[in-house]
Symmetry: C2
Subunit: 471 residues, 2 copies
């Protein structure tokens, strides 16, 4: 067995003491200096231990004072159950509720817990604007010309450079830009499927992916998924003979927010490769890790180019810019040709501006800030859910991303809750949206990427109160 | 029979005299004043007559001097023949030559007669830049948010307003924006076809459309087309039982540049509607008319919403912006849903900027200038083709758009000519690219939307010389 780093061991040790209530919520923890002296470790290592614990939501820092055990330990709330969709590809589309929920997009008069997008004031808008202005000035012919089919080369180079951080080791030529991640996934599915093919997906699943699959005439097989570790490997093995392609969101999948362990990622990649089933990996949320370390991707373990890694800046920088990409592995030629015939090229100015923004080094700085806010928001949500939501409410433990998944007692109907909440200017995403089977009627997704304030907090409490009246 | 306007009658009269060599190239024509006095018409009507004749390339103005018969009357060069593709849907893709030609995209060291895009210095780049900067400033949250699924409402309103000019009578809600016209067409085809369906197309046809159709698993039926009036109605009637969908480019189709007469447009629309065959109309070039009047579209005659009218600003304002749209008639719901699941929305900033540009009224001003340049360029090309190209060369008579179609004597091989020309830093589009059948080996498309100068003129002459060596 691999030896653990000293700082991981020490962090585990403190973590266990917190879980066993040796350290209680609100307790002050040893100072960094004393941790360093007592364990013979450097100040930096001691700091790292607390950062690690902070990323697990166990402790928090108070300015000029030190670290404290977090007042509300989210791990007290039970986890939702593993999903258990039927192993069939029969579809009952939740179109009506999806249309209802999506029709509120952009409404300023509602508290939109329903969409998985970051609030505008969490984004580096002023800096992005500057990059756009600069791009119109520096691009030849003001950016009116077509860019190359593969896409802006600065942008591709920067994405490739960042891939070193998660073991991707891509280079510029491994990448093709797209109009956002859904466009990337659409190109992959168009290139590799025909109507009648069966796609394997996690359950619950982002409704956009379900609808895209159906629009291409695919059959959808929803696969049992664990709320902390993602798709169930045994369940996946069982359906291998039935599926032609597989699409996973291993890092901070919306709605649940799990992170598939490296060992599982590796096994999934090898399994699908052995059976010649292409794997589309949606890594849109991978940069939104609460912990210190950016998680690996399935692509990190891709030996034969069978993984098509897709991502975008839509959840981290600017949803409305429409900037995404694919690293299509051995399917590059097909994808490139499809992009050419379907949309020709991407928006020259916008993609140049984002390429420059990434080059400026400001992206990491922004991500650190964004991740901190998201993690804090998540803790705020969990505290209110623990105090104000109905007895028996279960909640996922996202390790990153923008959303959490709530499981109410079985008798709840979240479509009813949605209708109630809308009358109170609150929008949620009912669980039924996330499946093509009759499931998740008692679940819902909440986005915690809103800008946290008194009003959001009151609306969240009020949502809990409304839920109670329905049980 | 409808009575002709007086000015049309007089213009016809002068036109016939020019064709009959009563007025010879170089002759000075009656002054506007004398035309007015002699015929008892207003000065404005007299001016309109010469503008009409100018749009037909028969006369040209000299500053402070008056109107002259054009030195080279392009109508002396014979027209290419009507196309006669086989009435089968068997495909032999010209992939190799397409890949070769497209690989030169954006090269500054070549004279690119091969692409149908306007040169950068024909575009209002400074004004567009200003609109982009303004959009980043005025849009909420700097344009980082998703726009509505149907697209920017200013842009849609302006396109709707412009539709009055060609009898479209659209309103904002009849329109959905896209990432360019190819994206618009792709959405239409995805919404309305399944693999194995047969699509009817003009022949020769833009290669992007042929490749898109194949990528969606469609069978392509190329239909006989006349170089001045477009698709042959009898040929279309004959294949009606074989086709499931039809796509036409009735206004200034690339490569040929014809304009389908209104009566034909009307008949095609009615014919296809009767047989429940949806008509996708690509009107990308409709604003690039050489004559005074913007031509009508098939959509102008659409009574039951069976025409899906697609267009973009890629040939008039900014290819690299990726701004297009569809007026999908009765197929709106399907198209909207497909756009949502495939790309979600368009680029917020860019579409807002183009909407504002259209609202500023600068678009018409720019179009007038662009059309004048294109028409002058076309005349310059025809003059050189008449003088320097091989005996027996035929050339199309575009009434607008960006390209013309050249038919050499049968023994010419334009793929050979392409290879020769490339060694001389000249790129052309060989005819074989424009069909999935073995046709047009002796044809080629030339773009006349380059910026006309001494070098272009020399390269065009040189191309003629190279062609002569191959016969």
């Amino acid at each position: 067995m691999k030896k653990k780093f000293l700082y991981v061991e020490l962090a585990d040790n403190i973590s266990e003491k917190i879980k066993a209530a040796v350290f209680k919520p609100g307790d002050k923890l040893p100072s960094i200096r004393s941790l360093s002296l007592e364990n013979g470790i450097s100040i930096n290592t001691a700091k790292r231990i607390y950062l690690e614990l902070e990323s697990l939501s166990l402790v928090h820092a108070k300015a000029q004072s030190g670290y404290y055990v977090s007042p509300q330990n989210p791990h007290k709330l039970p986890l939702p159950e593993s999903s258990r969709p039927l192993a069939i590809a029969e579809h009952i589309e939740p179109n009506e509720i999806i249309d209802k929920v999506y029709s509120s997009m952009g409404r300023k008069d509602l508290t939109l817990f329903s969409f998985g997008v970051p609030a505008g004031n969490l984004l580096p808008i002023a800096k992005l604007k500057k990059e756009i202005v600069l791009a119109t000035r520096t691009l030849g012919e003001g950016g009116t010309t077509y860019e190359s089919i593969a896409g802006n080369s600065k942008l591709r180079r920067m994405i490739a450079a960042r891939s070193l951080g998660w073991g991707g080791n891509l280079n510029e030529n491994d990448l093709i830009t797209t109009h956002g991640c859904m466009h990337a996934i659409a190109l992959c599915l168009m290139a590799l499927t025909k109507p009648g093919y069966t796609i394997g997906l996690e359950s619950p699943c982002y409704p956009g992916i379900l609808q895209l699959a159906l629009s291409l005439g695919l059959k959808v097989l929803e696969i049992s998924t664990h709320p902390e570790t993602g798709i169930d490997l045994e369940a996946l093995k069982n359906v291998i003979p039935k599926i032609d392609i597989c699409l996973l969101v291993p890092n901070y999948n919306t709605p649940i927010g799990y992170c598939m362990p490296d060992a599982n990622k590796k096994e999934v990649v090898s399994l699908l490769s052995t059976h010649h089933i292409p794997l589309i990996e949606d890594d849109t949320y991978g940069d939104l890790h609460f912990g210190e370390v950016r998680p690996k991707c399935c692509k990190s373990f891709d030996l034969d180019g069978n993984v098509l890694w897709c991502s975008s800046i839509s959840k981290t920088l600017a949803p409305g810019y429409r900037v995404g990409w694919i690293s299509p592995g051995k399917y590059k030629e097909q994808i490139l040709k499809l992009k050419l015939v379907h949309t020709l090229s991407s928006s020259t100015i916008i993609h140049e501006a984002v390429g420059n923004f990434l080059m400026s080094g400001r992206y990491d700085q922004h991500l650190r800030k964004l991740r901190k806010t998201l993690k804090e928001n998540y803790h705020n949500y969990v505290q209110i859910i623990a105090n104000d939501f109905p007895e028996g409410t279960k909640v996922s433990r996202p390790q990153g991303g923008l959303t959490l998944w709530i499981e109410f007692p079985k008798q709840m109907d979240t479509i009813k809750l949605y209708n109630y909440a809308m009358k109170n200017s609150i929008s949620i995403a009912p669980g039924r949206m996330f499946s093509l089977q009759h499931q998740y009627q008692h679940c819902m997704r909440l986005c915690f990427a809103l800008s946290w304030d008194k009003e959001i907090s009151l609306h969240l409490k009020h949502l809990g109160k409304l839920a109670k009246t329905l049980l």
